[in-house]
């Protein structure tokens, strides 16, 4: 009798759990060992980037809670919100009964959520995106965590193939590029730094950083103008770019006078996810056109 029950249980678990019946153990980006007992069915990805990673693996219907600023892929706005500009609500997260949390260490998410969730027995995977390669690895990591490692591998490999194609078409002479990602209240500008995935994306698209590594993220407009890049990129709206270059001094830039100042999509360059590859391809095409 016991044997029958055991065999029946075995068939049942196969039917329900698929191949990943054993717990998944992985090490996340901050060195934590995470154990995921069974493939998660209720995933809460904190931040738009993590949502896009999960959705890219075809697991959008397993997402049960998102952060307030997530808008892609379409439909995510309708998912329950677990946090936003004022921080994250442990209660709201718990209310969705998640069995996997994916977080990036920004805006208190890590501090507010890891400890409570771990104590409640919900596995939390922390991801970092310090380079484009790491973004690809994140796809694989999420695939592993979600119990679909082969799908993670497939998506990542496909994107990497596209990146290789772009690299193959790189111009011999790289354009010197500055990408402005934001403007502070005191006039300083945020730029894509060399040691971030955005900076990496620029290089992969065939560009070269006009400004050397800086200690702080915001730079003086004078430094940008003095660097006189070949191409000026602005992650934002056309109207904002025009307002910026109307300020004193910007007309000294060759890039402005000769029409090589362009806007790029914030979603493609400021969300470390699969759309970053779209951004790299678009930028590569642009840089080839403007190639000196």
């Amino acid at each position: 009798m016991r044997r029958t029950i055991l065999i029946a249980a075995g068939f049942a678990s196969l039917a329900l759990g698929g191949a990943a019946a054993e717990p998944v153990r992985l090490i996340d980006a901050v060195g934590r060992t995470v154990e995921i007992a069974r493939p998660p069915q209720r995933i809460v990805p904190i931040f738009a980037s993590n949502t896009e990673l999960v959705a890219a693996l075809g697991l959008a219907d397993r997402i049960v809670g998102v952060e307030a600023f997530t808008r892609f892929p379409p439909g995510m706005e309708n998912k329950p919100k677990v946090g936003g500009r004022l921080g994250f609500s442990v209660d709201a997260v718990v209310a969705q009964r998640p069995d996997l949390l994916i977080v990036t260490p920004a805006r208190q998410a890590m501090h507010q959520l890891i400890d409570p969730m771990t104590r409640l027995g919900v596995p939390v995977v922390v991801l970092l995106a310090r380079s484009v390669a790491e973004v690809m690895e994140n796809l694989r990591q999420v695939g592993r965590a979600a119990g679909v490692p082969e799908r993670g591998e497939a998506v990542a490999a496909g994107l990497e193939a596209r990146l290789a194609a772009v690299a193959g078409r790189a111009p011999t002479r790289r354009s010197r590029v500055v990408m402005i990602t934001g403007r502070l209240g005191n006039g300083l500008l945020l730029i894509a730094r060399t040691d971030t995935y955005t900076g990496d994306a620029i290089v992969r698209a065939g560009g070269e950083h006009a400004l050397p590594r800086s200690v702080v993220a915001h730079v003086s407009p004078e430094a940008i103008i003095a660097a006189d890049p070949d191409v000026l990129l602005f992650a934002g709206a056309e109207s904002e770019l025009r307002a910026l270059v109307a300020q004193p001094g910007w007309r000294l830039l060759r890039a402005i006078r000769e029409g090589r100042a362009h806007t790029v999509s914030r979603a493609q360059f400021l969300i470390p996810g699969p759309r970053t590859v779209d951004g790299i391809e678009t930028l590569a095409a642009l840089l080839r056109r403007e190639s000196p």
């Binding site: 934001g182 502070l184 209240g185 005191n186 200690v215 915001h218 004078e222 004193p248």
Partner: protein, 339 residues
């Protein structure tokens, strides 16, 4: 009440002012040279002579107007500080006592985070000016709820209003920001910093300084009398409460203009009048312009430091003035303890 000694024996006032003017000139030259790459004097001369290379044009179009704007903002702060110290009869009074900083920050927060459809630059300046000046009106109204307020009443109302405005501004910053960047956007403004103005802006700023000097000059006599004490000022033909109100509004307006163009720059309004009094004595007819000159030199120098220390980034101007201000007060303390 503290009475500090005048450092130098009474000599020619004109000589002192020439000294101050020279100091301002040196400060301007230093600030023009300072930056993420240092400009030698020869490069400066080339730029002024009309050189066409990008370094010269950048100096002339971007750095020089910024240095001038910094000096003008500093002049407003020094001037406003002298008026406030005169009204409150206290060498430790500073222009943000009556809530101007809280009000300005709210105005700036709204300008930076709420899409009002107004042109960006002027909106920020206008709203921070209105916020700063408006806060002072609120303080005057609150202080006057139960009769004509004396300076102590104004101070109390100022503390209360500043606290409430600070809380409101923090809430607005959190509630209106879209993501982390925008919180930083407003915070960076509150730390102070000069943005290179275009020609119209520079002219406007210069006219404001001239206007402020003229206005403050009319207050000089009353401020002197106020410094004798409320009763003695009254005895000498002043209505202390009404005059204090007028002086506060002028001082706050001057400070609001400075804040509109330079954000919240601390300590200059405190240090400049102090140094000026030490150099030209306590009578406001000389103190006010001297304070303006010193304030201008101070902010120009601090702006130069802000641009030069951490290239290609800048340190917020308010941080530099605070770092300069701290040791200044330690020196003051040492002198007091020795005396």
């Amino acid at each position: 009440m503290t009475t500090e000694t005048t450092a130098l024996p009474d000599g020619s006032l004109r000589g002192r002012f020439l000294l101050l003017a020279a100091a301002l000139l040196v400060a301007l030259v230093f600030a023009a040279m300072a930056g993420h790459d240092w400009a030698s004097p020869s490069r400066l001369m080339r730029a002024l002579a009309g050189g066409q290379e990008i370094e010269s044009r950048l100096l002339l179009v971007w750095r020089l107007p910024r240095v001038l704007a910094a000096a003008l903002v500093g002049a407003l702060l020094g001037l406003g500080g002298a008026v406030f110290q005169g009204v409150f009869r206290n060498p430790l009074a500073e222009p943000y006592l009556l809530g101007a900083s809280g009000g300005a920050a709210i105005g700036a927060t709204v300008a930076l985070l709420v899409p009002l459809g107004l042109p960006g630059g002027p909106a920020l300046a206008l709203l921070s000016f209105l916020g700063a000046w408006g806060a002072t009106w609120i303080v005057l109204a609150v202080a006057g709820l139960h009769g004509r307020p004396d300076t102590a009443g104004l101070l109390l109302a100022g503390v209360a209003v500043a606290a409430m405005l600070g809380a409101l501004r923090s809430f607005l910053m959190l509630a209106l920001s879209d993501d982390t960047v925008n919180l930083q956007v407003v915070l960076s403004w509150t730390l102070g910093g000069i943005q290179t103005p275009d020609l119209a802006g520079l002219l406007l700023l210069a006219m404001l300084v001239v206007g402020a000097l003229l206005l403050a000059r009319t207050l000089a006599g009353g401020l002197d009398l106020l410094g004798l004490g409320d009763e003695q000022a009254y005895a000498f033909g002043l209505d202390p409460v009404r005059f204090a109100r007028r002086a506060v509004l002028v001082g706050a307006g001057v400070v609001a203009a400075a804040v509109a163009f330079g954000g919240l720059v601390a300590f200059v309004g405190l240090i400049a009048p102090h140094l000026a009094r030490w150099l030209v004595g306590p009578r406001h007819r000389a103190l006010i312009p001297a304070s303006a000159l010193i304030g201008g030199a101070l902010v120009a120098i601090c702006d130069g430091i802000a641009r030069a220390v951490l290239p290609p980034a800048e340190i917020p101007l308010g941080l530099v003035t605070a770092l300069v201000g701290g040791p200044f007060f330690l020196v003051l303390l040492a002198r007091r303890l020795k005396a």
